[in-house]
């Protein structure tokens, strides 16, 4: 099937800036577009919005806690409510529990994200520098890897790649730890090129010999695990291959001179300088950003008029990430109508976005055991939909971002679509419960109250659609929702006031139990219906 093209160049968008544009930008750069955020940014300019999304300084979040002591198990070292990242030891029991704690912690950060692109970028880099907690089998290390992604998420990409090379999580995951001069392990040397930098696009021609040569350069980087809490990557000169490394014509037949002793560590800079001198690195990353944030398919027009200028910016700015994002999200192309609503939400966007857009209430942070438990539930629901944060399927990340020709359609199949529907049904109907009557659930009435005119059934439906979808629905469908759901089958404009009366009674007669139940049920049906339509899958 031919895919419709989108117009608009990389030039600055100077068209209307309103809620519609703000919603598009927020749905892509954050998890869901909350009404208050859309209203906030729509009242500013595109420039200020992008400035806020990309350039807001954020501190590192508080680390994850021991939420996992229970009647069957107590961490002997870390008290409940204290962070376990300082722990000096770990057994299988602790690793499993801390891993869950880590995932809950991360999911909570997404739900409570600031009005910035940070969390989306962390997920982007997680997909890019894919590692699996189940393989790494060290919660501390997985946590530190996540912190690394946060620190570099909007920084310098080249520095990020260097830091990743020292990252104990990656050293474990891609066997850099085992890469010694006697028997080089090529795993990281290969993925560094194939998946992390030059990629496998049409402009990438590195060879098997280049993989071997890179692996030799990378010999000696290993994990220093003397202290669990201070686990780190170091250069071990004794393991390093000190011979010269010859690269192919793709890299201009570069020879990286073997360096002796401690100086061997500097060969990493030689290697990265060589790799980053290839224009393909900038194009590869810009294509990946495009697929994640704009649309899955890159046609000739997008390659020439969007990717190439973005890549040029990337190189010109020495691989700083912010200028590229700024240029992309300020572009006419990004705001082209055809680029709106055309991404199938990834599962994290689906579940976290739901909680955020409906402002689902969680227990207070001091009730961290409940908060962590709810976040783990959400994380597991998301995993059922085939996106298990912390554990992507393999080093290539999720297929939705590379598997031609389906790309993001891969998220939706006969197993996952029903699971998405089960999830939204559950969130609107019963929610997820914990002991002591704690639950997370969509409060349909509270959500409707945030709308401008919920007492008018047509405004209620239009505003709800406008908040939850990127596109409108046919009038027939909206009329059906009004009459079939809100008006119990009553028809015609003349009947609208019955809804208005019932809605207003919530305030004027709050003790009218039957009315409250009726209005609540109608709103639940309405939002359940809206979330079951396929439009809700798009952002």
């Amino acid at each position: 099937m031919s895919v419709p093209t989108a117009n608009g160049s990389i030039k600055k968008y100077r068209g209307k800036w309103n809620k519609e544009q703000a919603k598009h930008l927020l749905k892509r750069t954050m998890f869901g577009a909350k009404k208050e955020d859309v209203d906030f940014f729509a009242s500013q300019s595109l420039h200020k919005t992008i400035e806020a999304l990309i350039n807001t300084e954020e501190e590192l979040p508080q680390p994850p806690l021991n939420n996992y002591n229970d009647d069957k198990y107590s961490d002997t070292e870390i008290k409940i409510g204290e962070t376990w990242i300082t722990a000096a030891k770990q057994t299988g029991m602790e690793i499993g529990r801390r891993r869950n704690s880590f995932k809950s912690w991360w999911l909570a950060l997404m739900i409570n994200q600031n009005k910035t692109i940070k969390e989306k970028m962390v997920l982007f880099w997680h997909n890019h520098f894919s590692t699996e907690t189940s393989v790494v089998d060290n919660a501390t290390s997985s946590y530190k890897h996540n912190v690394l992604l946060r620190q570099h998420a909007l920084g310098n990409f080249k520095e990020m790649v260097k830091a990743i090379t020292y990252d104990p999580c990656m050293l474990r995951y891609l066997n850099g730890n085992n890469n010694v001069k006697k028997a080089p392990d090529e795993n990281y040397g290969r993925e560094l090129q194939e998946l992390f930098t030059v990629g496998k696009g049409s402009g990438s021609h590195y060879t098997e010999a280049d993989v071997k040569a890179a692996a030799k350069v990378l010999t000696g980087f290993r994990i220093d695990a003397k202290s669990l809490s201070n686990i780190k990557g170091i250069f071990d000169a004794a393991r390093h291959d000190e011979t010269d490394k010859q690269f192919s014509s793709f890299y201009n037949n570069t020879i990286i001179k073997g360096r002796k002793g401690k100086d061997g560590e500097q060969e990493l800079d030689d290697l990265l300088n060589m790799i980053f001198s290839q224009e393909e690195v900038s194009k590869f990353i810009c294509r990946k950003l495009y697929r994640f944030f704009v649309y899955h398919s890159i046609d000739d027009n997008a390659e020439k008029n969007i990717i190439e200028p973005l890549a040029k910016t990337f190189r010109k700015k020495n691989y700083e990430i912010k200028p590229v994002l700024t240029q992309l999200f300020s572009s006419r192309h990004f705001f082209d109508d055809n680029n709106k609503g055309c991404i199938i939400k990834n599962p994290v966007d689906f579940t976290v976005g739901l909680c955020r857009e409906y402002n689902v209430q969680f227990p207070n942070t001091n009730e961290y055991v409940d908060v962590y438990a709810f976040c783990l539930t959400l994380q597991q629901q998301t995993a059922l939909m085939q996106q298990n944060i912390g554990d992507p399927p393999n080093v290539a990340g999720w297929p939705a971002y590379y598997q031609q020709p389906q790309y993001d359609k891969i998220w939706i199949n006969s197993d996952t679509l029903p699971k998405r529907n089960v999830f939204t049904d559950r969130m609107i109907n019963n929610g997820f419960a914990r002991p002591a009557n704690k639950k997370i659930i969509i409060d349909a009435v509270a959500f409707a109250k945030t709308l401008n005119n919920p007492s008018n059934p047509e405004d209620l439906i239009n505003e709800s659609i406008n908040l939850l979808y990127m596109m409108d629905l046919p009038d027939k469908e909206k009329q059906y929702m009004k009459e079939g759901i809100l008006l119990s089958g009553l028809q015609g404009m003349m009947s609208d006031h019955y809804w208005t009366d019932a809605w207003n009674k919530l305030t004027t007669k709050p003790d009218d139990v039957a009315n409250k139940k009726d209005v609540t049920n109608k709103l639940k049906k309405l939002y359940k219906y809206l979330m079951n339509l396929p439009q809700y899958q798009l952002c």
Binding site: C342, M494, D518
Partner: protein
């Protein structure tokens, strides 16, 4: 698995609504078939509920002919002319609105009956609340969370939706055409019904049409999502198969779109004849909320209310004819209901305001025809406060259908309705 466990565990099957092109089909997550169920229903009887949304003016539907002058005095501006109303064989005191010619014929053929003055103690005059009372079969002052048909189906098909569909019950338990699932079908934990939101979507489904909008990027994505919705919808397939078994229906149906109720019932007839084991169908038409100008000024036999009634009468008649043409007429019983009747005295706008009791029509080859109950008593000098007094609790009608049509044991009927109600001579 206990229902409670089932609720706790979201990984497994729950009633899932998925949508194709706006068609909402409640599907069920695939769970492996286990045991045959013990007390599912062995007969093939079907109930069709026709909701007259808005509160039908019963007094201008079934007219107390024996009190014509009081009737005429109470609502002079809308009263039907004495010489235009339709007679019922064997019931001289009661006549029908002139728009109900088809129903008159059905009555006189012994295939349609009327229950007079149906309501409940302390009637409620709010559309929403009164509708809820009819659907949940609750007392006026009690809020109940389950629907009466939902409780009935839950009793007959325990553990639904766990292990459904299965060979014994491969089909939806209940189907609602033309609306979302009403509370009528709400079971203790899950809705027992599925909805076919509108007739044209139904035909798109059986013809395999997808709303192709590939000119936009989101439209192309939406096409894919809609296709996938259809594939994952276990009931979409059985509905499609049942519908495709029927290649010809009665040619008496009005053209599509002319009579929305007939459009809905045409689908119901097709699904019944196509072999669905679905027990209860619900359709709806409206809006009977005739506060103003319910008749033509000059000719009281035409106008808004007449059009609404004609639609019902015509639709029921062609539905019956089609059922018999498709040779399933003996299996089907139908019943109308409306959340309330309207006031005895008309208002100055040529309409009627929310009232209390109203008549119910029931129909089918196997029903006992006749008028059950007597005409409502027309007061002299009717005031705005005068209402038609209840003669039959609406739950008596439900009890009769459950016991005499679906052959439930009286104790089961009591359980479904949370009480004992007199059985009427309907079927």
């Amino acid at each position: 698995m206990k229902r409670r466990d089932f609720l706790k565990n979201t990984a497994i099957g729950v009633a899932l609504p998925t949508f194709l092109n706006g068609i909402s089909l409640k599907a069920l997550a695939g769970t492996p078939l286990m045991h045959a169920l013990s007390n599912y229903m062995h007969d093939d009887k079907v109930l069709v509920l026709i909701q007259l949304a808005g509160g039908n003016d019963g007094l201008n539907t079934v007219i107390p002919f024996d009190q014509y002058s009081l009737y005429n005095a109470a609502r002079t501006n809308i009263a039907l002319p004495e010489d235009k109303v339709l007679k019922l064989n064997g019931y001289d005191a009661t006549v029908l609105h002139p728009a109900l010619a088809d129903m008159q014929k059905l009555f006189n053929d012994g295939k349609l009956g009327i229950v007079q003055a149906v309501s409940y103690p302390k009637p409620n005059f709010s559309h929403f609340r009164a509708t809820d009372i009819w659907m949940t079969a609750s007392d006026s002052d009690k809020v109940v969370n389950t629907g009466w048909a939902g409780r009935f189906l839950n009793q007959q098909f325990p553990n639904f939706p766990n292990n459904y569909p299965n060979p014994q019950m491969p089909d939806p338990l209940a189907i609602q055409v033309g609306s979302v699932i009403s509370s009528t079908f709400q079971g203790p934990a899950f809705t027992m019904g599925l909805a076919i939101s509108n007739p044209s979507n139904f035909y798109n489904l059986i013809e395999g049409k997808v709303n192709v909008d590939s000119n936009t990027r989101w439209g192309e994505q939406l096409d894919y999502l809609e296709e996938m919705s259809l594939k994952t919808d276990q009931y979409a397939d059985v509905i499609k198969k049942a519908a495709l078994k029927i290649t010809k229906q009665s040619d008496k149906y009005p053209a599509q779109g002319k009579n929305p109720l007939a459009d809905q019932l045409k689908i119901v007839a097709r699904l019944i004849a196509g072999g669905l084991k679905t027990k209860v169908y619900m359709v709806n038409t409206g809006s009977f909320d005739t506060h103003a100008k319910q008749t033509d000024d000059a000719d009281k036999t035409i106008g808004t209310h007449a059009n609404l009634l004609k639609r019902v009468s015509e639709a029921v008649n062609v539905f019956m004819e089609d059922l018999n043409y498709l040779q399933v007429g003996d299996r089907v019983m139908g019943m109308t209901f409306s959340e309330f009747g309207r006031r005895i005295k008309s208002n100055a706008s040529g309409g009627t305001d929310h009232g209390a009791a109203a008549p119910v029509f029931y129909f089918g080859n196997k029903v006992k025809s006749g008028v059950i109950g007597k005409n409502p008593t027309m007061p002299t000098n009717a005031t705005v406060n005068d209402n038609v007094a209840m003669q039959h609790d609406f739950r008596s009608l439900y009890a009769t259908v459950l016991q005499n049509w679906f052959n439930l044991q009286p104790t089961d009927v009591q359980n479904v309705l949370n009480g004992t109600y007199p059985i009427l001579n309907m079927v």
